[in-house]
């Protein structure tokens, strides 16, 4: 990848990352819009997914009875196993019309004074992509958070209860203990969102632009590669796409390593002494 992206790296240099012009016809290639689209859609996904995932993880590890625990646990695992193209189809046929007809008009009416909640109301766009991603990463974050919370030894729980903690105080203590592991799970979910291709491609709108309005169509790094790679004929176009891929690879690699380290250290903590 490093070698094959040479033509674009030598021609555009650093401006490849800082320019948002992407015009294969005029041979202008800048990846900023994709970087922006990837990161913002992933952040939206995290903001939506994190509270839900934490709730599910706490429910599964601390509260649910046996039946609910297996049922919800099963659902979470199923959700994690669904291929992303299915999410894409569901997004396109269910979520996009719903966003267009209900959610976005409503948000615009109530929160429209914030520039974020504006843009072309066509259903596809940044917010829709973020929501699809949120649904896709929630199983990952909740399953790992549940495992991290479960890995807290019984002795820690008992320590809190023995001091007169109520159930919620004991859960809060457990969350404090699981903090770095939950952070790891979050980063892992973020990494998954950043790398996600199919579902995002189908709902993000695929337009290389940077717009404050979350309803506006956008584009992500993975999507542009998926959409244009097969048709790209010019060397500079191909090598630019490869450079986008290289960027994506470096970013996800860093995010994933960070996540693994956090999760590993969180579950290892109690073995130290």
């Amino acid at each position: 990848m490093f070698i094959n992206s040479y033509p674009s790296r030598s021609q555009f240099g650093l401006s490849f990352i800082f320019s948002q012009d992407w015009d294969p016809v005029k041979d202008k290639f800048g990846a900023l819009a994709f970087i922006y689209g990837t990161i913002v859609s992933s952040i939206i996904a995290l903001i939506i997914s994190l509270p839900i995932s934490l709730g599910v993880a706490i429910f599964l590890s601390e509260m649910a009875g046996k039946f609910l625990k297996t049922t919800v646990g099963f659902l979470v695992e199923i959700l994690a196993a669904i291929p992303s193209i299915i999410f894409g189809f569901w997004g396109l046929f269910v979520l996009v019309p719903f966003m267009r007809n209900s959610v976005q008009p409503f948000l615009e009416k109530t929160l429209g004074f914030i520039p974020l909640f504006s843009g072309a109301n066509i259903g596809t766009g940044m917010l829709t992509a973020g929501i699809i991603l949120a649904i896709m990463i929630t199983p990952i974050i909740s399953a790992i958070s549940r495992d991290v919370i479960k890995a807290i030894p019984k002795s820690q729980r008992e320590a809190a209860y023995a001091l007169g903690a109520t159930r919620w105080e004991a859960i809060r203590m457990a969350l404090l203990n699981a903090k770095s592991g939950i952070l790891g799970a979050t980063v892992l979910g973020f990494g998954r969102a950043v790398g996600e291709t199919m579902a995002v491609t189908m709902v993000i709108g695929n337009r290389a632009q940077i717009s404050a309005g979350l309803f506006d169509p956008a584009y992500s790094m993975a999507s542009v590669i998926a959409n244009e790679f097969a048709e790209a004929s010019k060397t500079i176009h191909v090598s630019s796409l490869i450079e986008v891929g290289l960027l994506l690879f470096v970013v996800t690699f860093i995010i994933n390593s960070l996540a693994r380290i956090l999760i590993y250290s969180a579950t290892k903590k109690y073995d130290a002494k």
């Binding site: 002795s155 320590a159 809190a160 404090l176």
Partner: protein, 265 residues
């Protein structure tokens, strides 16, 4: 060093000398009895040791005193437990656990909290506190647990930087910070080295001026060194309960004698 003449021999039977008493206390796990019909009166401001072979129900007994079995769905508790003649059910589980502290076999400080925050971790559950009061409290509890001089310059570092023995003394500090009347200790030194063990034993000896202590131990010498009274459990039953000296020198039951002389266990 820790032998104490028991000056109160003649007052043995006065009721308010007893802090905690159990009547016909039985605990079942999945319908199987772990302890049966334990009748025991623990004396106020003294150290009571519970000894007996592994699996005889020492921990089960201890954990019923602060309702720890509530965390185990398979456990059922029968019989009555009274503190100063009040049934523990009347305190409610949260207040009971503040009154009856517990120190565990393996030191279990909260790993994400500093030494300071560990000491006050139980107070956070009891409402608002002023920083100055907390500072004083931390110093007092760490002094009482013999840790102050070792940690006073690093109160804000993680509790996990302490040695095992120091961690256990931190757990004792954390327990007494809640102002309990009674402290339960389940083999508090079995995970520690001999020097740390000695320190904890000295601590137990000092703490009985203010607290009623019940200590489970596998170590017969330890029971002899720190306790005033000793209860010998065997197969879920209380076999003999008497002054520690009596248990070790002149027990009534043959079984007790065999156990304390190391013939089994």
């Amino acid at each position: 060093m820790m032998e104490e003449e028991n000056k109160n021999n003649s007052e043995e039977n006065i009721e308010d000398k007893f802090s905690i008493s159990t009547e016909n206390l039985s605990v079942y796990f999945n319908e199987k009895p772990a302890i049966k019909d334990i009748n025991l009166k623990v004396r106020n401001k003294s150290v009571t040791a519970i000894i007996g072979p592994s699996g005889c129900g020492k921990s089960t007994y201890l954990r019923s005193l602060n309702m720890m079995h509530e965390l185990t769905p398979t456990a059922t508790v029968y019989g009555s437990i009274k503190i100063n003649n009040i049934d523990i059910q009347e305190f409610g589980v949260i207040n009971l656990r503040k009154k009856v502290g517990m120190v565990f076999q393996k030191p279990n400080p909260f790993p994400t909290l500093s030494i300071y925050d560990n000491v006050i971790s139980g107070l956070v559950y009891t409402g608002r506190h002023y920083k100055k009061d907390l500072d004083e409290k931390v110093e007092r509890c760490l002094t009482a647990s013999g840790l102050w001089n070792e940690v006073k310059d690093r109160l804000k570092v993680s509790a996990m930087t302490l040695s095992g023995g120091q961690q256990q003394r931190l757990c004792i500090a954390r327990t007494i910070a809640v102002n309990p009347d009674i402290i339960l200790m389940d083999e508090p030194t079995s995970a520690l080295d001999p020097i740390s063990t000695t320190k904890i034993e000295e601590l137990v000896y000092n703490l009985k001026k203010e607290y009623t202590i019940i200590i489970v131990t596998h170590n017969m010498q330890q029971a002899a060194r720190v306790s005033d009274h000793t209860a010998f459990f065997y197969l879920g039953r209380l076999v003999e309960y008497s002054k520690t000296r009596t248990i070790f020198t002149n027990p009534k039951e043959k079984l007790t004698e065999e156990y304390v002389t190391g013939k089994f266990g």
